[in-house]
Amino acid sequence: MEIHIEYYLIVSTVMMVSGIYGFLTRKNILAMLISVELVLNATDINFAVFNRYLFPAHLEGHFFALFGIAIAAAETAVAIAIMINIYRNVRSIETKDIEEMKH
């Protein structure tokens, strides 16, 4: 019994698909951001796993996952700042209430 590369990929596929489902169905922007977080995390797993299994002498996937984590943190911080500003102006962060710029 060994851990094959496909096992990791199945787990990350389930994670990414549930992230996509949440992004399509959620009405609250914070919940949509949490779904995006799941998708980003699944790609980070894939980078690390491909690096470990297919190119163990190199470190590209490892560092790409590391920079991906940093960029996800930056994106989350700015997005939450925007959402708090929206909440201050509109008193809601539901997608149905935010349509000023839609038309």
Partner: protein
Amino acid sequence: MNITLSEVVFYIAAVIIMIFSVMTVTTKHMLRSATYLLFVLFSTAMFYFILDYTFLGAAQIIVYAGGIVVLYVFSILLTRSNKNLNLHVKPSKLAAAGITSLVGGAIILFCIYTHGFASTLVPATGDSELDMSTIGEALMGAGKYQYMLPFEAVSVLLLACMIGGIVIARKK
């Protein structure tokens, strides 16, 4: 049939990830969603530890579990979005999203199984945990396969995002 400890840990983490990532997007309560996301991120860090990328796992725990989830919980409480998540989602839209996700996942799994990877097992280089000095030299060097430029770019990005966050969320 002998099962090593890392396989046991892997299967536990895999089950936790698959269950809780689905529950993250289906639960009705926002705070529970953030908590399940925390479980998923911890299990991802367990994956990195099993892969011998201990620095990556530590960064995952520090940045995601320590920083991002706390930020989520604070903003959930600040914006009073703790309940009524799936308000007014039409069943047809739920079904369409579910079918889209399932078909997409099926295509991805089909590609994974028919690809035939060059090596499906961990290459036998021994239990080689990635050395911390190797990571440091690769991050700080400017040569080939070294990452000085992205490191600096990320530092500038983080500074810009910090300033942007302050400016956007500032009280007028």
